[in-house]
């Protein structure tokens, strides 16, 4: 295990940021800490980096007890949401910083900086100041800077949070490819479930200072351990006392399946290739939300007012709702 966090708690005044958290983060993988804002995931990352100290508990990095080590002795790379670029230094100087602190020979520093700038596609910007770069370029520079010191762990705190949607999508695909090339143990914090599902090998879901579930994207999506994880990872609706994904509901126009819930389509909305239906099953309950394909809708000739019968598909992800 590359990073081993055991029984860590942290309070800020009355606010409990982390409550007895234990996690193992395996070597060489890209792990996401996923959860809503204020849930404690950034605090956990900062405790691993040594930028905050835990009230109780221990942190072990690469087998070395690190709980009380200052950040400069942990050999971790940290990437900040707002880049934390050294504004008065050129891009090359930013990347060289950690190597110069370690008194590496000049020629080695130069060679390594050139390699890294090529890796992050910033070779032609080496002599610019950070203020002359775009947000995405600055974050790539920050990544090169963190990688320059060959950290045993790379920690990224909402690395794409300050970027606009398009750049964010490009950059996270790029990060995935980069990780496949460099293979450094990486942990990134995000509140965007799509980002976590798309990029990470493993996801740790954190909410209200506690770990909700740890698993691969498939495990989490297909077998959520709790109501919260199910709701946080994708859309959910309620069908007969269970939480189900809207696309895991089978719609038929006759009461064929035993146990199917009868209802009436009250609203229909076409979004691209899919069609969203709202089905009223009982007057006092919220309508059930169902997603079907356009072809399926045509085939069944569904429209507002159609009578339908709903049942979960056989392989549906479901969590029995807490009432």
């Amino acid at each position: 295990m590359s990073i081993h966090v055991d029984g860590v708690s942290k309070r800020f005044g009355d606010f409990v940021a982390l409550d007895d958290v234990s996690v193992d983060l395996p070597t060489g993988q890209l792990t996401a800490l996923l959860g809503p804002s204020g849930g404690g995931k950034s605090t956990l990352l900062r405790i691993i980096a040594g930028l905050e100290t835990a009230d109780t508990g221990t942190v072990t990095i690469e087998g070395r007890e690190a709980t009380h080590l200052p950040p400069q002795k942990r050999n971790v790379g940290f990437v900040f949401q707002h880049y934390a670029a050294f504004k008065h230094m050129s891009v090359a100087k930013n990347v060289a910083f950690g190597l110069e602190i370690r008194h590496r020979p000049k020629t080695e520093v130069k060679k390594r900086v050139a390699e890294l700038l090529e890796l992050v596609h910033l070779d032609q910007f080496a002599h610019r100041l950070p203020s002359q770069l775009s947000g995405g370029q600055r974050q790539r520079m920050a990544l090169a800077r963190a990688l320059a010191v060959e950290p045993s762990v790379l920690l990224l705190d909402e690395p794409f949070g300050a970027l606009d949607a398009k750049v964010r999508k490009e950059l996270r695909e790029w990060l995935r490819r980069l990780h496949d090339e460099v293979h450094v143990t990486s942990v990134f914090v995000t509140h965007d479930q799509e980002e976590a599902l798309e990029v990470a090998d493993e996801i740790v879901v954190i909410n209200e200072g506690r770990v909700e579930q740890v698993g691969t994207p498939d495990q989490l999506y297909d077998a959520p351990a709790t109501d919260f994880v199910m709701g946080f990872l994708g859309p959910v609706t309620r069908l007969g006392g269970a939480q189900v994904r809207p696309h895991d509901i089978e719609v038929s126009t006759d009461p064929g399946q035993p146990g199917a819930v009868p209802g009436r389509v009250v609203r229909l909305l076409r979004v691209g290739f899919e069609v969203r239906l709202w089905v009223e099953t009982a007057p006092s309950e919220e309508p059930v939300s169902v997603t079907v394909t356009r072809a399926h809708q045509r085939q069944l000739a569904l429209g507002e007012g159609s009578a339908v019968w709903l049942s979960p598909t056989s392989d549906a992800t479901r969590v029995d709702a807490v009432v």
Partner: protein, 277 residues
């Protein structure tokens, strides 16, 4: 200076011209013309004569003393200002708000009160600490340390006031990044923090410098004002004026005023740089 101009909703011409004339006339009559006259009076006998006046041994000694005092006072305030600013912005400790409020006190205390306060504590006869210090061989009042203390006192908050807002604005992420890259506290300060606040430090130093060179009341009390020994440049201005050596008085004043103006222009020219980044 080059301030961001909001879209002008212009006043009607008579109002605009009226205000403009009143403003310019007021500043010319109160500041610009009288200040100009000091330079004119100083240069009336010619530049050579003015410089000769400054070369008078007592005057030269006073100018030397002012330079020495200013160097000490600025260095002390720089070290103190950097330390206190970092503590106030980057750390938590009990009494932080109180310390922050007290730091502004020296700006609103009368120079005469500053002088009196230092005399009460540090004079060699009946001061609180003065006799003990004198027995140990340190004379404070009527001597250079006293003048330095008075000067440091009056210029104390200037460096802090420049640095604190800039430190707050740049935040501590760059410092955290440096830490995570392996820099220790000292390396982080020299390589990251200081370059980030360098212009604020320069303004603070220039302002403290101008204030230190010009202090009069407090220095008059603690120095003893002995010609050729503890007399500073500002004290020479008073003494020579009252002894009807007005030419010397104007010459020294012109020199001091010149330093003040250069400081102002330096700050005015440098200031916009900060906002560019």
């Amino acid at each position: 200076m080059a301030r961001a101009q909001a879209p002008l909703t212009r006043d009607p011409a008579p109002v605009r011209w009226g205000l403009r004339v009143v403003a310019v006339v007021y500043v010319v009559l109160l500041v610009a013309w009288p200040t100009y006259l000091v330079f004119e009076n100083a240069l009336k006998p010619g530049l050579g004569a003015m410089l000769d006046g400054l070369r008078d041994p007592d005057v030269a000694h006073a100018i030397d003393l002012t330079v020495t005092i200013t160097v000490y006072a600025v260095l002390i305030n720089l070290a103190f200002g950097l330390t206190v600013s970092l503590l106030l912005v980057r750390y938590d400790f009990p009494g932080k708000r109180l310390l922050s409020a007290l730091l502004d006190v020296p700006l609103s205390v009368s120079p005469v009160v500053v002088g009196l306060a230092l005399v009460l504590v540090y004079n060699g006869q009946d001061g609180w600490f003065g006799p003990t210090l004198e027995r140990l061989g340190y004379q404070v009042i009527f001597s250079t340390p006293g003048i330095v203390m008075a000067t440091v006192f009056v210029a104390l908050p200037l460096v802090i006031r420049e640095i604190v807002p800039v430190l707050e604005e740049i935040g501590d992420e760059q410092e955290q990044a440096a830490r995570s890259l392996g820099a220790n506290g000292v390396q982080t300060f020299w390589r990251v923090t200081l370059p980030g606040i360098k212009w604020a430090v320069v303004y603070g130093v220039v302002l403290a410098l101008a204030r230190s060179i010009g202090e009069f009341g407090a220095v008059k009390i603690v120095s003893g004002n002995v010609v050729g020994q503890s007399q500073t440049a500002t004290l020479v201005v008073e003494e020579t004026y009252q002894n009807f050596q007005q030419q010397t008085s104007y010459a020294v004043s012109a020199l001091l005023a010149l330093v003040a103006m250069v400081s102002l222009v330096v700050v005015a020219v440098l200031r916009p740089k900060e906002h560019k980044s």
